[in-house]
């Protein structure tokens, strides 16, 4: 039985008819065309689907869409609403942290939360903050460098 609920995403309110088992990931991609959020594993193992729920990074593949009605959801599309890269996105480009790019949006969402709460994180804090996100191209090396770059005073 579908329920129609309001989803507050990137400042917009979407009324969506949602099946009981639908994940937030699926609703973002299939109902709302917010395709920046990626499916990599559907079991909380890769981090490609990371979004912010009330400002905190969560796996959208593990979040039921019906659980988050009315709460503030931010996806990668919400980080650059005026069409300009934010500081972290720009640092990813500058540091060469993007290779195939499939993990990138989830990686940025995880790193963004770290930078939202920690001004100048240590190397260890950075690595822990993205430990829930897998990357197969970069060895994380330039990703860590990009996060440092974005956090530099």
């Amino acid at each position: 039985m579908k329920q129609i609920v309001p989803l507050h995403i990137n400042g917009d309110i979407h009324e969506v008819a949602i099946e009981p088992g639908a994940t937030l990931l699926r609703v973002l991609r299939e109902h709302l065309g917010l395709i920046g959020t990626k499916r990599g594993c559907d079991s909380g193992g890769c981090g490609c689907c990371t979004v912010h729920l009330d400002g905190k990074a969560v796996y959208s593949c593990m979040t039921f869409a019906l659980q988050v009605a009315g709460r503030k959801i931010t996806t990668i599309e919400g980080l650059s609403p005026d069409g300009r890269l934010n500081r972290l996105q720009d640092a990813f480009v500058e540091a060469g942290a993007v290779q195939c790019g499939y993990c990138t949006c989830g990686m940025i969402m995880a790193a963004q939360q770290l930078l939202d709460v920690t001004q100048t994180p240590t190397e260890e804090e950075i690595r822990r903050a993205i430990a829930g996100n897998l990357c197969r191209c970069t060895g994380y090396h330039k990703i860590v460098a990009a996060i440092k770059l974005a956090s530099a005073p």
Binding site: P20, G21, G44, L53, Y59, T63, F64, R128, G132
Partner: protein
């Protein structure tokens, strides 16, 4: 579709609503909170019978309270919030919880709940055994009211626990120790987003003379279908002045009392030896905390 029979996602506003839903659906309902483990069960085909999901996140159970008797942790309080409690960060007696909370990825900490981690009854989880070593008590609610189940009696098998059909967990209570106490947690894992190959949580209480008055030694992660309390190892510690040598002896005893599983992640022999090493290291860590 791993939830092929799912018909309803129920979001009760109060406990009675949860109880009603549980009565309607019996064992065909599943309580959800953070949902971080549900998909692991789902993808293994373990939830094909589920017809209703009951979200308990709107019941106001996300409180974290500290009083003179100890901690009261609401079932839907998040790992991320628990981690920021000043007592968890600073107090030696809660060290095991602090240690265990290092391991989950941030996305899990922001969604996983105290109640979910306990009620999932997965023997490979980290946080629940830190509660176990602190003599945590599960408070669950059923149609006939509230019931207390000590953590050490809570787990009854793989994904099975002592709650009855129709009951759900609302709180975890941790009693404040009456003497000086410290706890610690250690884990063997392959990467930083892993279930435990083996984990251990310990607590040591000491009296004014510095002698160990009580101890808890818990091992999990493949030592069996549930985490287990290793009383023999505890007895090695009690009434002793704790030294590294005593810790090592307790580790050896712990190894002798487990009969772990072999699976694709590790052999039983390795898990046995890691029981020794992790118990020993956790005790040494707790001892260091006592001396702080």
């Amino acid at each position: 579709m791993a939830l092929p029979k799912l018909r309803e996602f129920i979001t009760p506003a109060d406990a009675q609503g949860v109880l009603n839903a549980l009565r309607n659906y019996q064992d065909r309902a599943l309580i959800v909170a953070g949902g971080t483990f549900l998909h692991g069960l789902e993808s293994r085909g373990l939830l094909t019978h589920v017809e209703a999901l009951i979200d308990i996140q709107r019941l106001g159970l996300d409180y974290l309270e500290s009083g003179k008797d100890g901690l009261k942790l609401g079932a839907t309080a998040l790992f991320a919030d628990l981690e920021t409690m000043p007592e968890i960060r600073n107090d030696p007696w809660l060290g095991a919880i602090k240690d265990a909370l290092v391991f989950p990825p941030v996305q899990v900490k922001n969604a996983a709940t105290i109640g979910g981690s306990v009620a999932a009854s997965c023997p490979f989880f980290d946080v629940p055994i830190s509660f176990m070593c602190l003599d945590g008590v599960v408070k669950c609610r059923g149609s006939s009211g509230m019931r207390d189940i000590p953590m050490q009696e809570f787990f009854t098998g793989l994904f099975a626990n002592a709650m009855e059909n129709g009951e759900f967990m609302v709180e975890l209570a941790i009693p404040r120790p009456r003497t000086r106490s410290a706890s610690a947690f250690m884990k063997v894992e392959t990467n930083a987003n892993d279930l435990a190959i083996l984990n251990a949580a310990v607590r040591i209480d000491v009296d004014e003379s510095g002698t160990c008055s009580d101890a808890r030694v818990i091992a999990g992660g493949g030592v069996g279908e549930t985490p287990i309390r290793l009383s023999d190892a505890e007895q090695v510690l009690v009434r002793q002045r704790l030294t590294p040598e005593i810790c090592a002896r307790a580790g050896l005893s712990a190894k002798g009392s487990v009969n772990p599983i072999s699976d694709h992640r590790a052999s039983a022999a390795y898990r046995s030896e890691m029981t020794r090493v992790m118990v020993n290291r956790a005790l040494r860590q707790a001892l260091d905390r006592l001396r702080q």
